[in-house]
C-alpha cells in the first residue's frame, strides 16, 4: 500500500488478511488510487461486497461505509441502498465465484437495469477461501481440489456476459497492468449507470500451487506475459492468441 493512500484506510487497520503473492492487495491499492485521483469523498462512498477473499478488500479496510453481505448477493444489497439513497456512490467489490457463479443472476439483472453501480470483480479463477475448488471462471484443464483431472467445463467470458446483459462500461485488466486498471476504475466511477471491471488477480496459494507455478512471482510474470491489450491482439493470429488473455475496454461492436 502506498503511504499516501493510508488516509483512506480505517484507523487501526495494520495488515490485510491476504496470502503472500495474492493480487488482491494490489487491487486494493489501485481502487484507492483511482478514488484519490477522482477526488471522491469517502463519506459519500458505500462499498458492498459478498463472501470470499475479494469481499475483504473493502471490509473492514476502507474508511467508508461498508456492507459485507451474503455470498453472491452484493449487487442485490447495493441495488437497495443505491435506489433508496442515490447520493451514495456505490462500489461493489467481490470475487468471481461470488459475482459470477452464486450471484450470476444478480449480475446480469444489475446490468440489465443499468443501476448506477461500479462493480469490480476480482477474478482469481478459483474458490480461494474455501480451499481451491473449480470455479465457473476456471480455465479448461485447470487443476483444482474438485477437478483433479482438469476442468472439463468452459469458463465464462465475464466481460461478454455483462456486456450482453446491457452494462454501460465493461473492461478487463490484470493487476499486472496497474496504470490501465486505475484509468478503467476512474472511468467506471465517472460513468453513470452499471459499469463492470473484471480484474485478473493471481491466487498462488490455491491456483498457483496446483497448476505448477514455481512461485508467486512466477505466477505474476506469466500473467504479465499472457495479458495483452486488445489493440495488440488485433495483429495476432489465432494460434498466437491461444495462450493470451485479451484485456481492454469492451463495447458491443
Amino acid at each position: 500500500m502506498s503511504r499516501d493512500l493510508e488516509e483512506y484506510l480505517r484507523p487501526g487497520i495494520e495488515s490485510t488478511p491476504f496470502c503472500p503473492g495474492c493480487g488482491h492487495g494490489i487491487l486494493m491499492n489501485l481502487v484507492l488510487r483511482a478514488i484519490d485521483e477522482c477526488k471522491i469523498n469517502m463519506d459519500d462512498m458505500l462499498f458492498v461486497s459478498g463472501i470470499g477473499c475479494a469481499a475483504w478488500i473493502p471490509s473492514p479496510h476502507f474508511n467508508a461505509d461498508t456492507l459485507h453481505t451474503l455470498h453472491g448477493r452484493a449487487i442485490a444489497f447495493a441495488t437497495g441502498a443505491k435506489m433508496f439513497n442515490p447520493k451514495l456512490n456505490v462500489m461493489v467489490i467481490s470475487g468471481d465465484g461470488d459475482l459470477a457463479s452464486i450471484g450470476g443472476n444478480h449480475l446480469i439483472h444489475g446490468a440489465r437495469r443499468n443501476i448506477d453501480l461500479t462493480v469490480i470483480c476480482a477474478n482469481n479463477m478459483i474458490y480461494g477461501m474455501t480451499g481451491g475448488q473449480v470455479a465457473s471462471t476456471s480455465p479448461l484443464g485447470a487443476l483444482t481440489s474438485t477437478s483433479m483431472d482438469g476442468n472439463v467445463y468452459r469458463p465464462f467470458d465475464l466481460c461478454k456476459l455483462v456486456l450482453g446483459a446491457g452494462a454501460r462500461y465493461v473492461a478487463r485488466f490484470s493487476v499486472t497492468q496497474p496504470l490501465l486498471l486505475v484509468n478503467a476504475i476512474k472511468k467506471s466511477l465517472n460513468t453513470p449507470g452499471f459499469t463492470f471491471i473484471e480484474v485478473l488477480s493471481p491466487c498462488p496459494t490455491q491456483f498457483g500451487r496446483r497448476n505448477r507455478y514455481d512461485s508467486p512471482a512466477d505466477m505474476l510474470k506469466t500473467l504479465t506475459e499472457r495479458c495483452i491489450v486488445k489493440e495488440e491482439a488485433r495483429n495476432l493470429s489465432e494460434d498466437e492468441l491461444e495462450d493470451k488473455i485479451v484485456t481492454g475496454e469492451f463495447t458491443i461492436e
Binding site: A64, T66, F77, A81, N105
Partner: protein, 381 residues
C-alpha cells in the same frame, strides 16, 4: 416512549378492501418507502398496489429477479435509511431464509409479509394454509429471534402491518406478518383513523451500532451516508462491526443479545385477545383466519350453555408462554385447531399443564366453524 402520533397518509374513513390491499396501505401509513418483491400467488396484489401508490409518495418500488434479491435489496435500503418491506408466499419465503438470518444478525429492522398458501413444494398456490409458522421461527440457520404476527381480518392486515414496522424499528429485528390466503383475498370493510402511532429507529451519533450497555439490549442504528463509516457484516462482529470470526466471547455475546432483546421484552411485544375465558372449561387457542371460525363456534356453544372460551394469538413469536401456562392451570382442556399438521400446538403443550387436543386440517380449505363446534361438543360429552 419513542412513539409519535402522525397524520394518516391514507385519508380517514371506511374502505372496502382486500387483505392484501390493506397490507399495502398499512405499510405506506407506517412510513414504508422502499419495497422490493417478486410476483407470487397469493401475495402479488400487495406489490401491485404499492407499485401504483408509491408514485405519488416518492417511494422506491423494485421488482427484483427473485425473492433472494428482494430480501437483500430491502436490507440494503434499510441501511440506507429506509423503512422497507417485501411480501411473498411459501416458496418465496423459503428463498428468503438466508437473508432473514443476515437481517437478524445485523439487527436490520424490516417487514416481511408471508401470505401463506398450501405447501410443501409448490403445493396449492391459490389455497389457504398456515404451514409457515415454524419456518418463521426456525427457517434460517443458527440461533436468532424474530417477531411474527397473525392477523385475522382485513382491518388487522392494515393495523398489524403498521404495528410490524413499529416493533421492527423499536427492536431492530425482522418482523413477519403471517397472513393467510383466506385473509389476503378476503374483502371486507375497514375503518381508517386520521392519526396513527409510529416508531422510528433510535439514532445516536458515534454510538456503537452493534452493542449497547442499555438494559433493553437495542443499540441505536445509523444509516449509510451519515458519515459514521459503518461496518455492516453478516459475520460475527463486535459492537462497532469489526469481524470476530474466532472469538468465542464475541459470538456468545452477540447471539445472546439478539435473542434476549426480544425474549426479555416479550411481555411488551405479545398481544392476545380473550373471549369468555373467565369460567371456560375448554379453551380454544387459535390464530389467523381459523380464529374467526373459532370465535363463531364458541359463541354458538355458549348459547348451548357450554363453558368454552377463546384465546386468540395476535402475536405468534415470541410465544405467549405465560398466558398459556395460566390458562393451563384453570382449564380442563385446550383445543388447538390449525391449518397445518400441528405447529403451534407443540408450543401450547410446552407451557400448558392441562390436556391439549389438536385439530388439524391440510386440505387447502379453511376450518369451518361447525367442525370446531362438533369437536368441542364431543370433548365436553
Amino acid at each position: 416512549m419513542g412513539y409519535k402520533v402522525i397524520e394518516s397518509t391514507f385519508p380517514a374513513g371506511s374502505y372496502y378492501l382486500s387483505g392484501n390491499e390493506a397490507i399495502a396501505e398499512g405499510a405506506i401509513a407506517a412510513g414504508c418507502r422502499y419495497y422490493a418483491g417478486y410476483p407470487i400467488t397469493p401475495s402479488s396484489e400487495i406489490m401491485e398496489r404499492i407499485s401504483v401508490r408509491f408514485k405519488d409518495l416518492h417511494g422506491v418500488f423494485m421488482q427484483m429477479e427473485d425473492e433472494i434479491a428482494s430480501i437483500c435489496s430491502v436490507i440494503g435500503a434499510v441501511w440506507a435509511g429506509a423503512k422497507a418491506m417485501t411480501a411473498t408466499s411459501g416458496p418465496g419465503f423459503s428463498l428468503m431464509q438466508e437473508g432473514i438470518g443476515y437481517a437478524a444478525l445485523t439487527e436490520t429492522p424490516l417487514v416481511i409479509v408471508d401470505i401463506q398458501r398450501a405447501g410443501p413444494g409448490t403445493g396449492q398456490a391459490t389455497r389457504v394454509a398456515s404451514g409457515d409458522l415454524m419456518q418463521a421461527k426456525w427457517g434460517s440457520h443458527g440461533d436468532y429471534y424474530i417477531i411474527a404476527l397473525s392477523p385475522w381480518s382485513v382491518q388487522e392486515m392494515y393495523e398489524q402491518t403498521i404495528h410490524a414496522f413499529n416493533v421492527a424499528e423499536k427492536y431492530r429485528v425482522p418482523v413477519f406478518v403471517m397472513g393467510e390466503e383466506a385473509v389476503g383475498h378476503l374483502r371486507e370493510r375497514i375503518e381508517v383513523k386520521d392519526t396513527l402511532k409510529i416508531f422510528n429507529r433510535k439514532k445516536k451519533k458515534g454510538a456503537p451500532p452493534f452493542g449497547t450497555d442499555q438494559d433493553d439490549g437495542i443499540p441505536p442504528m445509523p444509516s449509510f451516508g451519515d458519515g459514521e463509516k459503518l461496518l455492516v457484516t453478516g459475520s460475527t462482529h463486535n459492537e462497532i462491526g469489526i469481524r470476530k470470526t474466532d472469538d468465542p466471547d464475541a459470538h456468545s455475546r452477540l447471539v445472546n443479545r439478539i435473542n434476549k432483546k426480544i425474549l426479555n421484552n416479550r411481555n411488551n411485544i405479545i398481544q392476545t385477545e380473550s373471549h369468555h375465558l373467565k369460567d371456560a372449561e375448554v379453551v380454544v387457542v387459535s390464530y389467523g383466519f381459523t380464529a374467526r371460525s373459532a370465535l363463531f363456534a364458541i359463541e354458538q356453544l355458549r348459547k348451548e350453555g357450554k363453558k368454552v372460551g377463546l384465546l386468540r394469538l395476535k402475536t405468534i413469536w415470541p410465544f405467549a408462554d405465560e398466558i398459556i401456562h395460566d390458562i393451563g392451570q384453570r382449564a380442563k382442556t385446550i383445543f388447538v385447531p390449525e391449518m397445518n399438521r400441528g405447529q403451534i400446538i407443540g408450543e401450547v403443550m410446552k407451557y400448558a399443564s392441562c390436556e391439549v387436543i389438536p385439530y388439524n386440517q391440510t386440505n387447502g380449505e379453511i376450518i369451518h366453524p361447525h367442525r370446531i363446534i362438533n369437536e368441542v361438543r364431543r370433548l365436553m360429552q
